[in-house]
């Protein structure tokens, strides 16, 4: 289904509002459901505002991603465990994420976009950002993972010994 004319106004958690094409918002399960629940005419221009629990800065990034991916097929293809991999992020998406790496709050931005993709139910964006985080962890030692994720070891000595035993075959 194509929505060439229809536009949707989104209001952010910090009070901003952005009007975007329905061609972009069709990728968001949350916004599509909100529009369906309003039971308005598809040709109404613009629609009543849809409130999203995402701040303005993060929504701008989400819209930038949606604009690039506006023609992606829907529904988002689910992958099996055998097909799933983290090293197949498209070049545009890699460059999009790398832009944040120059920021001081790079990880906070990644966190904000992951949670926004989850709240707005944008499967492609959620998948891509989760892959990005997985790539930051892939190939790291347990100690490095603890450092990146800032996690304390809360295992007992016995639990830790059991995990080390299960992991020992692949550690050398």
């Amino acid at each position: 289904r194509i929505y060439p004319l229809m536009r949707v106004t989104l209001t952010t958690s910090d009070g901003a509002s952005v009007t975007v094409s329905r061609q972009l918002t069709k990728h968001s399960g949350f916004i599509e459901k909100a529009i369906t629940d309003m039971a308005v005419d598809d040709n109404a221009v613009p629609l009543s505002a849809v409130a999203v629990d995402v701040d303005d800065a993060t929504l701008k990034l989400v819209i930038e991603w949606l604009t690039e991916h506006r023609d992606d097929a829907l529904p988002y293809p689910e992958k099996t465990d055998e097909e799933r991999r983290a090293d197949d992020i498209p070049a545009w998406d890699q460059a999009f994420v790398q832009k944040w790496d120059t920021k001081e709050d790079q990880q906070q931005t990644l966190y904000a976009v992951i949670t926004a993709a989850d709240k707005l139910d944008i499967k492609g964006l959620l998948d891509m950002t989760c892959k990005t985080l997985a790539n930051k962890i892939n190939g790291k030692t347990v100690e490095e993972m603890r450092e990146i994720l800032q996690l304390e070891c809360d295992f007992t000595e016995e639990e830790l010994a059991e995990i080390r035993k299960e992991n020992a075959w692949c550690e050398n």
Partner: protein, 127 residues
Amino acid sequence: AEIQIEKENAWIDQTIGMRYDLSEVKVEQPFPLMELPNEIICIILRHLNTVDRLRARVNKRLYLLEWADQYQISQLTILQGDMSPIDPTIPGKVNMMLDVATLPSHVAFLLKLERNVRVESIFFSVR
């Protein structure tokens, strides 16, 4: 006073710049993983290869989430000789080197797999 200190220190900054390309220095900041809901953490775990997934059990919550999330390995190869435990070109394939010295670890790993992993095929290669 600040300008004076900047002036006095300028030569140090220049010297460091000559020795190291500071633009290349990238500090990885910590990611607030534990603030994410369990469902998203599970998606991230599913994007890790089997070895990194095992290593990612760095605290109790991650251990339990990894345990609770069922997944599938397409081929488990148990073989003699040196080989990387994972094949980056084939997701879902795991190579386990047969080594008497680390046999208890192999058994512990197989018992761990039994909890939440479906192995589609097992391939033995013993010379």
